[in-house]
Subunit: 202 residues, 4 copies
């Protein structure tokens, strides 16, 4: 009870600091100050900086994923379903900026292999989730046959980048425009509709 509260308090602070500074620049001292606990308390609850980082990221991503799934009404027509999915992801990515930025920026080295594996696992789960939706779409004849894994990665990459950019400079692009753009590209691409070049496309 008490313990879980304190852990959440720490994870909250860690999320803020890690996302602002990145893993290496975030100092345990600062996290302790933000969390309003002593440095020792950090280590009493999480055995290392890496472990705290892992807890922060995985808990954050899991929360986002759960929320995405929750927001997704499954009885909508497929395309509406897809649009809802994109909308959820984009909005949650942006509103949980402190987690998603970490994710996008700190997957490189300097973190124990073990922790890295844990985090990548959550990411993979997420990709698989998208992949499954795309697969269903193809099976039902809504989507053209493409390598699902790559399509899912492409979708996520697009969203990552657009959301990351939005967080860097929030005034520039409106969120609904981002959603619209992602959806359009993903669904019908960039090519103008009555374009004679269609035939050129291989």
């Amino acid at each position: 009870m008490k313990k879980e509260l304190k852990k959440d308090q720490i994870i909250g602070a860690a999320g803020i600091v890690f996302s602002q500074k990145g893993f290496h620049q975030a100092k345990m001292d600062e996290i302790a100050v933000v969390a309003k606990v002593a440095k020792g308390t950090l280590y009493y609850n999480f055995s290392s900086k890496s472990k705290l980082f892992a807890a922060t990221v995985t808990q954050g991503l899991n929360k986002i994923m759960a929320q995405i799934k929750e927001e997704l009404e499954s009885d909508l027509p497929f395309m509406a379903h897809l649009k809802g999915l994109i909308s959820s992801i984009v909005r949650l990515y942006i509103s949980h900026g402190e987690v998603t930025r970490i994710y996008a920026n700190e997957m490189s080295s300097g973190i124990d292999e073990q922790v890295l594996v844990e985090i990548k696992g959550v990411r993979k789960e997420f990709i698989n989730f998208i992949e499954d939706i795309l697969k269903t779409g193809e099976e039902k004849g809504y989507l053209r046959p493409l390598p699902h894994h790559l399509s899912a990665l492409a979708a996520v990459g697009m969203i990552d980048t657009l959301c990351g950019n939005h967080l860097d400079d929030p005034d520039r692009d409106r969120v609904d425009l981002i959603i619209e753009t992602v959806f359009t590209i993903l669904s019908i691409g960039l090519v103008a509709e009555k374009n004679p070049t269609d035939s050129q496309i291989k």
Copy 2:
């Protein structure tokens, strides 16, 4: 002359070490060893680790951009032009993994603001380059009107992620499949061609 050679020698080593370890995990000692010079020589040529990093990344990215532009035959039909562009980017991203991985992973904090700005400048230049091509495509009626900046970011994000993934696990996906997938999504999207749901979109 001599000096430039030594600098290149150092930048070469730095590229290897930075891409393997990331900015913070890369140690000046190791770069010196790999470059086969003394540590002092690093500082004789670059005033700080950050500056060396900036030099490594900007030189690398500029080289890649130059190569992309060079590979691009401008008198092809637009779609072929676009496909050639994607193909160039993907192949060069992957073959210059040591630079592009740095870029994808280390843009977060821990590097002097000044250096970060320099690197982001190169990135922005690149995005603009893509943006211009898309704008031209729209003006000529090949592409549907969409916010160019977002489209360009989406395209680059897609490619970043797919190439990053390929570098992590090179056996999984063939490069030409990546190119094909990116091109298909970007041009005509995921939606199956004669799909009645078209009307539902938007």
Copy 3:
């Protein structure tokens, strides 16, 4: 009653952990786990780590000394008495390895002066006990006149080292051989009996 039981339980655990890890490497956390009490309980019963260490060692050494005295039949002929003494010491040293190893290894710094003094007191008491026996032997004409204090120290040092070695590598030397060797050296030395070099001695 209850309290004494708990104290003994803690001292038992402390003996095990201190002897395995040494004073500095033994952690209060581990002692608490081994003793199956909470860490706070350690401090409820012993005001500090040093005090717990002192209690562990002095209780252990006192127990050993009491047992040695008990095993010693005083109406035996002197040399049998001496041999019995050595036998007792060696066997008890080895069977109470967890205490005697502490003693041999951890008498150096890092423990409060006060506690150190307490422990050294027990040791001194032990040396005095041996010294008294040797003095009696000399008075009765069994032993040659030598500085008793040094002889006692020499005897104890010999036994310490041989027993410590045995505990490190129990398979190497049989206990009875150790007893035999100590007794032979202490009583008649290393020099062969009818050796003409006797005259050279001294």
Copy 4:
């Protein structure tokens, strides 16, 4: 050249501090102060505290052993040889107190296994050296047949303890008395010469 000098300077300081405080209580900060170098210089020359400790002890012990061997005139009659040996060991033990105390007190845990093994190796070498001399004595008929390994350990243990005691309280016993006592016990034991109890022995 320069480097070896600095290393020696550090080892000298480390010897002083380690012997006064013991391994765990000795702080790298203090060693640095005593050595008059920055803390980083310690680590530039020795990769860890343990390694510095190992270097300090093994260098010290090797120096002592070398000196013992050097002082030993091999063409003396055997008993004089033995006495010279004891005399050398005792005097060198005492005059190199800062090393031998470390050895006697800090062989317990808390030091990397690897370093411990290195130090124990030097000790073993020393024991073997004594053992060989005793073996020679027996082969030449000067010494009674006893397990050499145990005899050597016993001799060293005796000397360790007496010298350690002398260093704790230098005023108490004169060094030559210590040498005399060790020699007497080792050679002819404690038993008075024309003692009728000889027959009782064993």
